[in-house]
Amino acid sequence: MERTVTYENDLNLKATELRLGLPGTDDSDKQTPSGVRSNKRTLSETTEECRSKSNSGTSDARNDDTETAPAAKAQVVGWPPIRSYRKNSFQPKKTEAEAAGIYVKVSMDGAPYLRKIDLKSYKGYPELLKALENMFKFTIGQYSEREGYNGSDYAPTYEDKDGDWMLVGDVPWEMFISSCKRLRIMKGSEARGLGSYV
């Protein structure tokens, strides 16, 4: 949903622009005399409604946007009034982790090159296995604790923090993504061998 509109005085785009609000309510005409700053609004429906309602003097509440980049989300500087320390306590740590992701190499026996996937983008094993199947065009068999992956020539394995090669699916998902360093899709007799050990 488009929430941000940037008015550029030079091009007078606002004359042709589509927006919510009653015709005739022109709440963006108050420019600063220096006129250079662009006027940003959040066009959430509620604010438009109440602007139409209380038309008189509130319409020139200018957004102080000196610190936000143009065309970014039109959050007003310093509003809501939360100290940045508090605001940042939740966002950056989250986004940092999300941006970082857990990227691991995936190799498939017989494939000419490796791929890389972000383990964090999957919610669990089924999703991960499906993604691998799509990526390398093969099918993984049915997983069982006793026998590993049954009914297929392939077995997904991973190297853990200790350098050991493990079968994908044995440990809880959270533990898996925190200990997995790389993935390898084994094929053929090796794979079958692994299954028969379990």
């Binding site: 008189s56 509440a61 809501p80 320390y85």
Partner: protein, 627 residues
């Protein structure tokens, strides 16, 4: 001169020495000696600055002054002291000599030199700098409020300084080093919302041998690699309180453990998020006498070596004196049960960094019958607040912060929560409530159910948002608050508000000292109502509201009684501000532009004005124009 004063201060300690024999140290320059020949009391010197004289035997009026000084030693309230100082010149001087706690609400209202000249025996200084809206990035960096002129003046004048409490000041590492070196008896440093210093400065302060309190609250501490935790005195410290949850850099945990072990007086400890639960438990067993604890990270995730080790949190149960709990960063809610044993004793609980839901809050709050202060995130929802209302009958202060601090974010708490709190917590004195939607009815209900309210701060995060059920402005709700809450001293308004709301505030808000306004009002009348109607108004901060020059001029009768006025993105022009500056010579009128330049043109964006005894400050940066 100086030596005399020092000796006087030592004499003062012997409060019982009421002028018997020996060297009676007396404030010789009383009114009587100076005016019209007087009655011979007081011997020689006539000094406006308070000359000290020695007399072999006390004259009656000198005994009186001695008595006065000794009585004044017991007077601690600064408002009472201000009144005392107005009685007459000798009372003024006696009060000045006996004032040990100096409070300066605006660091630019008076120069360090003047303050030191008047109050010569200060042991404790409280100093506040930037206007509060600086917390929300409305004041450009390097605006001012530097600690340096104060610390350097005091280094010379107050050798016995023990306590410094700063709020919103710019403090550098050099300032902190100077502080540590200048005051041998230094005991307490409290920094709130300050910036400009790093862990190197902390290391300098840590070395103060008498240090009892080092509290860092919501500061921006420059990250550095200095191991300040290792700098506290050996073999034993006097530490009673160590608060460093806002320090972002990791701390040397082994050093922290040793520090805690050698601090027998430690009662308050608030850790930063680099200390995890397993480490916390090791600390807690060493300080079972803690009364205030701020946990670090309430999880074990940062501790890969112990990823499979469940922390043994029975340490909480051994802290029998815990009354205040905070921290809970990066919380793993499963571990919350660890705090159950202490809940019934808690008077203060701060979950404002803990992303917990209603159920998780309920599991804790059901034990917290004695809670007086609660800070939470709106992740607990209305349901969580209902649980609070049901259990916490002693609640005095509630703050509900938004996890998603955006205007158009998810509405997690609403009028339902506010209403529940008002119905359950009748002793409520202070509330700060962030929400996405509100109704007049709920606010009116709170005004009726909570007659003890002194602080009412409601932040409806969507600008200009009306009552979401009736579509009406929020005038009636806030009107009811000022009408019914007879003790109200602080008010913050939000939502769609017309001038009517302000007329209510002006009519009924007779005790209001602090008022915060944002995106509200229709015309100049709004501000005028307030300036004309609120005699106790001291701090007024306004942003993005359509108040112009005529409103500004309607307050001239009152500005000398105020600490400050802040108006940003309103309808003021340079003309109007200049007129105020002209007519009010003791007001400093600052027009603040963007960081690089001053405002051009007639309309101004930010006005900050305050009374001052010493005129315009000398340290104004280029983007500040003082009229």
């Amino acid at each position: 001169m100086r030596e005399n004063r020092t000796e006087m201060s030592e004499d003062d300690e012997r409060a019982t020495d009421l002028g018997g024999g020996g060297a009676v140290v007396v404030e010789a320059s009383s009114n009587k000696t100076r005016s019209f020949g007087g009655n011979g009391g007081g011997g020689l010197g006539v000094g406006i600055g308070g000359v000290v004289d020695y007399c072999p035997s006390p004259y009656p009026d000198q005994v009186l002054e001695n008595v006065l000084e000794n009585v004044l030693l017991f007077l601690t309230s600064r408002r009472d002291r201000n009144s005392v100082s107005l009685v007459c010149k000798s009372w003024y001087r006696a009060e000045a000599l006996t004032r040990t706690d100096l409070f300066i609400g605006n660091c630019y209202a008076v120069s360090p030199r003047r303050a030191i000249e008047r109050f010569q025996r200060v042991r404790s200084l409280v100093l506040k700098g930037k206007p509060r809206f600086a917390d929300f990035s409305l004041v450009p960096p390097n605006w001012g409020a530097h600690f340096f002129p104060w610390v350097s003046a005091m280094a010379a004048a107050y050798p016995w300084l023990e306590k410094v409490h700063l709020k919103r000041m710019s403090v550098t590492d050099d300032n902190l080093t100077l502080l540590a070196h200048s005051f041998p008896g230094f005991k307490e440093l409290v920094l709130v919302c300050c910036d400009g210093f790093s862990t190197a400065g902390l290391a300098a302060v840590a070395k103060c041998r008498q240090l009892r309190v080092l509290d860092l609250i919501d500061d921006e501490v420059i990250e550095d690699d200095v191991d300040w935790i290792s700098c506290f005195p050996e073999p034993v410290t006097c530490l009673e309180s160590l608060i460093f949850d806002c320090v972002e850099s990791p701390v040397n945990f082994e050093a922290l453990e040793r520090l805690v072990a050698r601090s027998p007086s430690l009662r308050r400890l608030k850790l930063n998020r680099h200390v995890n639960l397993v480490q916390l438990q090791r600390l807690m067993v060493r300080v079972p006498q803690l009364t205030h604890l701020g946990t670090g990270s309430f999880s074990t995730l940062d501790n890969p070596a112990q990823v499979d080790q469940e922390p043994d949190l029975s340490a909480f149960a051994t802290c029998k004196s815990l009354v205040c709990l905070s921290g809970f960063r990066d919380i793993v809610p499963d571990y919350l049960s660890a705090i159950y044993p202490v809940c019934s004793r808690l008077t203060s609980l701060n979950f404002s960094y803990a992303n917990i839901n209603a159920e998780q809050l309920k599991s804790v709050i059901r034990y917290c019958h004695n809670l007086q202060t609660l800070w939470v995130l709106d992740s607990v929802c209305d349901e969580g607040l209902q649980a609070v209302a049901a259990t916490c009958k002693e609640l005095r202060e509630l703050r509900v912060f938004p996890i998603d601090a955006r205007e158009d974010g998810e509405a997690a708490v609403s009028e339902v929560g506010l209403l529940a709190i008002s119905e359950g917590c009748s002793k409520l004195r202070s509330i700060l409530y962030f929400c996405q939607q509100m109704t007049n009815a709920a606010v009116v209900a709170m005004s009726r159910n909570c007659p003890e309210l002194m602080v009412f701060r409601l932040c409806i995060m969507g600008r200009h948002r009306p009552d979401h059920l009736t579509g009406e402005p929020m005038d009636e709700g806030f009107g009811a608050i000022v009408m019914n809450c007879k003790k109200l001293t602080r008010l913050a308004v939000s939502g769609l508000l017309s001038d009517k709301a302000f007329s209510y505030i002006g009519e009924y808000g007779k005790l209001i000292r602090t008022l915060s306004v944002a995106f509200a009002g229709d015309s100049d009348m709004g501000l005028t109502y307030v300036l004309k109607g609120c005699p106790k108004l001291q701090k007024l901060e306004i942003r993005d509201s359509p108040f112009g020059n005529s409103a500004l001029l309607s307050g001239l009768h009152h500005y000398y009684n105020m600490r400050f006025l802040w108006m940003s993105t309103c309808k003021l022009t340079l003309e109007g501000c200049k007129e105020v500056a002209q007519r009010m010579p003791h007001l400093v009128v600052e027009v603040i532009g963007d960081r690089d330049e001053c405002d051009t043109g007639d309309a101004i964006d930010k006005l900050y004005m305050y009374r001052s005894l010493d005129g315009p400050r000398a340290d104004a940066p280029p983007f500040v124009m003082i009229l």
